[in-house]
């Protein structure tokens, strides 16, 4: 069982407190720096393990960093605190990005990332709630996280709690019907504390979403399901932070984050093969150089 890295958790709390007082524009450079560091951590994990989903990790990581570093009220030393905010990563195949972020927060020591996908490691290819502190529900099969997040938000409403719930969805994942069941439920119950963040990188495993089974007009779909829709550049930390900080109306909020799969490494960006390709030694060096610039 993994447990808190107290030193890192202390550092995280300090950074979290500093970011809290900054405007989105002021916070953005710090968030960008954290995200680039986590991209490097993630890349090394995947290179070492010889498996992972680097493309989706890099499209979602700015969203995860913004949420954990500057929005969510979570305590790595008390990962099950009843009043914590919740984040559900429904696109569980991007576990690498989540693990790197949780380690940054101090939910477990960063050196544990080296065990990713090793025999017996708690860091499975998809996140497990029982083994990894900070993981709210086990995900991997697509279309699972959103209904769970709706249940979490409903629990907050029943308990008259102000805690917030965020669910991060892949765009291809929206082809699963269970998401739309959940979208209807959230709107019906007026779950205004619930944010669904769509990582709109426009690629799925085999091809572009619009070639596979078109999602557009996506914003209209969410709006017609009763959601308030906000569209942002999913790699612009200021825009992301602003959209997460702004309170909604009586409706749940959908943030469509326009992203690029493989963002940050020129030869991976918007390339379908980098969905789960593993970098060679040479590609690792090239990518690390770009991510350090």
């Amino acid at each position: 069982m993994l447990s808190v890295d107290h030193e890192q958790a202390l550092r995280f709390r300090g950074e979290r407190a500093r970011l809290e007082g900054l405007s989105p524009g002021q916070a953005a450079p710090m968030l960008r720096e954290i995200a680039q560091q986590l991209r490097r951590d993630d890349l090394r994990m995947i290179h070492r393990a010889r498996l992972g989903h680097i493309g989706g990790d890099y499209s979602v990581i700015d969203i995860l960093v913004t949420l954990y570093a500057a929005v969510l009220h979570v305590d790595p030393a008390d990962p099950l605190a009843p009043e914590r905010d919740r984040l559900v990563l429904s696109k569980g195949h991007t576990a690498g990005a989540l693990y790197a972020t949780l380690a940054y927060c101090g939910f477990f020591p960063r050196r544990e990332l080296e065990t990713f996908a090793e025999a017996g490691s708690p860091l499975n290819g998809h996140p497990n709630r029982v083994k990894v502190p900070g993981v709210e529900t086990s995900t991997g099969p697509l279309g699972h996280g959103f209904p769970v997040a709706v249940g979490i938000a409903l629990s907050a409403r029943l308990q008259r709690s102000h805690r917030r719930t965020f669910v991060v969805l892949g765009d291809g994942e929206l082809q699963e019907g269970s998401n739309w069941e959940a979208a209807m439920t959230a709107a019906h119950y007026g779950l205004s504390s619930l944010f669904a963040v769509v990582d709109r990188n426009r690629l799925q495993q085999g091809a572009r979403t619009e070639e596979t089974k078109a999602l557009e007009p996506l914003a209209d779909k969410w709006a017609s399901f009763g959601w308030e829709v906000r569209e942002v550049d999913g790699h612009d930390h200021a825009q992301l932070l602003d959209s997460f900080r702004r309170q909604g109306t009586a409706r749940p909020v959908c943030v469509i984050a326009h992203t690029v799969k493989g963002k940050g490494v020129s030869f991976m960006e918007d390339r379908v093969e980098w969905h789960h390709k593993v970098p060679s030694d040479e590609e690792l060096e090239l990518a690390l150089r770009e991510l350090s610039a």
């Binding site: 709210e136 529900t137 099969p141 709706v150 907050a156 308990q159 069941e181």
Partner: protein, 320 residues
Amino acid sequence: MSQQAQAAVLHDCRKTFADTLIALAREDERIVAVCNDSVGSSNLTGFKAEFPDRMVNVGIAEQDLVGVGAGLANGGLIPFVSAAAPFLTGRALEQIKADIAYSQARVVLCGQSPGFSYGELGPTHHSIEDLSWLRAVADLPVIVPADPLQTAQAVRWAAANPGPCYLRIPRTPVPDVTPPGSPFQQGKALRLTDGDDVTLIATGTMVSRALQAAESLRAEGIAARVLNVAFVEPLDTASVLQAAAETKGIVVAEEATVTGGLGAAVAALTAQHRPAHLRLLGVPRAFAPTGSTAFLLEYFGLTAVDIAAAARDIMAHARQ
């Protein structure tokens, strides 16, 4: 009152389920009910009237139903997720696996109208596969109460248990079979009659039929041991192996497919540790013809007469 007179009085376990749930909800505000437009068929009208805010209806959406249940549990509540068993376990099987069992979400999955309860509505509405499906999922107790007393015990056990479970609530009326004061423990079968000739292992609606079969066998001089197995998972392996050692064979009866339910569990256990003469009564890999619940139970050989016949067959085989 004689046993036969007792057997004549039939009860609806759904009412006990609902009454117990309401009683528990009065004691513990964490208890909530979640349904899929099934307030009536889950017998939750009374719960809704008393606790309107604690009754979550997700509409006709079973994947959402189970996921929402897992989320409510994440928030510290104790959700009883209730739906017709075929749709709860079939439509949402992957949610049960990933969101409930693998995540160890404290959710009580309540399968209503299981087995052949829906009779003439046909195989789409029968839930005979649920025991096979859910036995294949790790870390998920599978509980089938046999009468109102056990239903109340099962509901209370499930509410107090820190992990998830599946409760299969009988709809077909059943007589009382559990002696008052009987324990209800995870992984423990209840021995209802003693006997060293043959063992009758039954679950749910089949328990009263096994007792009837034991009565008729006794009249013929055959002493049948009857075990009521409410916990299909985890199985009471000690009691089953003891029966395999002490009696000439075992008849298993369940209102479910024989491919992976209680009979399959008993067969796998005894085959490896204490080979025994077995007769597995249940539904073969076949879709049912049109017919009422009573007709279908008879059609598939799930009556007291069939159970007794299987026991006699074992005795005859053992004499050879």
